[in-house]
Amino acid sequence: MSIADRLLPRAREEDLVVEALPDETLVYDLKRDKAHCLNPTAALVWSRCDGETSVSDVASLLETELGLPAAHSVVWMALDRLDRENLLEDPVALPEEAASYSRREMMRTLGRVAGLTLLLPAVSSIVAPLAAQAGSCIPRRTCRRVLVPPNCTGLPICENPNRCCRRRNRTSCRPRRCR
């Protein structure tokens, strides 16, 4: 029995937010505050990592569903990418031949069939958003307490001239007309 038949990879489920879009799957790792984008091949492999399906079975599935040649290598490559981004429950020890199979070599192999290189598994990171995207404003007291002056890391500071806020105690705040 080869390692591909024995290995039953399991996708991580905890502390992840997953949003499946028509042409990609987005994953947010709450533990590491990292966002990833999985292309359809990587997403398909990841979705089959249920701890019961072997690498060989996933490869057969890829061959059937996507018509990919060299599907074993593609699955290993996907597992490697997913593992690097901590999206698998346990680390995957790649077999020697798979470990040495680079993306470039894979592209050369698949490139013989036009368009198939697009199906190579890809897990890319999404760049962090600008703080200014969020919210309309934050109370100045929050800015002073939580964020770094002088500009609250880009977040707006509330300035409502009609209503001031007098803190009554630690838990509430009584709006009143500014004098």
Binding site: A35, P129, A132, G135, P139, N151, R163, P175, C178
Partner: protein, 366 residues
């Protein structure tokens, strides 16, 4: 003098004087975002607008996802398309994260015997073709005024530390009591649970006034109004929506006409008081200029921390010259043809006084 000339003089632009280049920049944003909130946005055709840097500006003001939605199927090699797509992806993920957080927060509030009311961010995102099109930094929840202390305690103080929840212990809409708002609210599905959400009429008003109160500087907020208008339910009660304080009809008309005139929102069945309404001439240029500027004074370095050089101080003051839309709401005025200059000056004096005497703490307008 002819009546028309008199009216033109009266509707003189609000200071700062209108800048054609800024307006054309704002117009480019408006052209680009027109209809972008719809499930099928109108096909984007390369217009005679300057697209340079447009993507960055959209992302900066929270309209990056909408930008991507508009160009994704156009087949046009739009500069900065990848930036827009990244924004869309992140916003989609944040929406999923917020869904979790709302559920967790609501469970805690309900355990403390508090039933919250949902509005703005999450609810506004639901008006769009996809939630990921509309970003929001925090989750706006309102609770009964007498349950504020219990709610703050349940979520932990200060709010926003453990949960990104902006908790308000008041009625979110002026002229309405908490009980009225709750009676017209509806259950909104959030993940596995349901949360009471502001009724469509009250939400439209809240979105409109929120946009105006912040000087309409984010294009996204006008898209909110447009999306709320076009997705309003069949039983939408205009009488109830327009009934209330003296300014309510004027402010609503202003926001709706802006959505229609600037972004091309085409909501059928508007009451005649709105469809026949006219915007003062200074208003659209003011909106377009604030879009072009992209950053309101609230985002800039506080004056107190500005280098005490005359040029820097002058620049700080120039940036802080009151937005005519913002002061209209703040001073409880109508959007009419009368010049904004007196109100802007008064606002300037008030702000300076507050700055000098150290009264700077304020709460956000809901």
């Amino acid at each position: 003098m002819l009546q028309a000339e008199k009216q033109n003089l009266l509707s003189a632009p609000a200071l700062p004087l209108t800048f054609p280049s800024a307006q054309s920049r704002g117009r480019a944003i408006a052209t680009f975002l027109a209809g972008s909130w719809r499930t099928r946005p109108p096909p984007y055709r390369r217009a005679s607008i300057d697209e340079t840097g447009l993507a960055s500006q959209l992302v900066k003001t929270g309209a990056g996802g909408l930008g991507w939605w508009r160009v994704r199927d156009s087949g046009i090699d739009f500069p900065g398309a990848s930036e827009l797509r990244e924004a869309y992806r992140l916003q989609t993920l944040h929406s999923g994260i917020h869904e979790r957080r709302i559920q967790e927060g609501v469970v805690l509030l309900r355990a403390a015997g508090v039933e919250p009311l949902l509005a703005k961010g999450w609810l506004a995102a639901g008006l769009y073709a996809q939630r990921g099109l509309r970003p929001y930094g925090d989750i706006d929840l309102w609770v009964r005024p007498d349950q504020g202390a219990a709610a703050f305690e349940a979520l932990g103080y200060p709010p926003g530390q453990q949960y990104p929840i902006d908790l308000h212990a008041n009625a979110p809409v002026r002229d309405r009591t908490w009980d009225e708002l709750m009676a017209r609210s509806h259950p909104e599905p959030v993940g596995d649970t349901h949360v009471r959400a502001l009724g469509a009429e009250d939400h439209l008003y809240l979105l409109s006034v929120h946009m105006l109160a912040h000087g309409a500087w984010r294009p996204l907020w006008l898209c909110d109004v447009a999306a709320a208008l076009e997705s309003r339910p069949r039983e939408f009660d205009w009488d109830y929506c327009l009934r209330g304080g003296k300014r309510r009809p004027n402010w609503l008309m202003t926001a709706i006409r802006l959505a229609s005139d600037v972004l091309g929102a085409s909501p059928p069945g508007l009451p005649t008081s709105i469809s026949n309404g006219h915007l003062p001439r200074w208003l659209v240029p003011a909106v377009l200029e604030s879009w072009a500027a992209g950053t309101p004074y609230m985002h800039t370095t506080p004056v107190g921390l500005t280098t005490p050089r005359p040029a820097a101080l002058w620049n700080a003051l120039r940036i802080r010259w009151p937005n005519p839309i913002q002061v209209t709401i703040a001073w409880n005025r109508e959007f009419d043809r009368s010049p904004r200059l007196p109100v802007q000056l008064a606002e300037c004096v008030l702000r300076s006084g507050r700055f000098l005497f150290g009264r700077q703490t304020a709460t956000p307008l809901g």
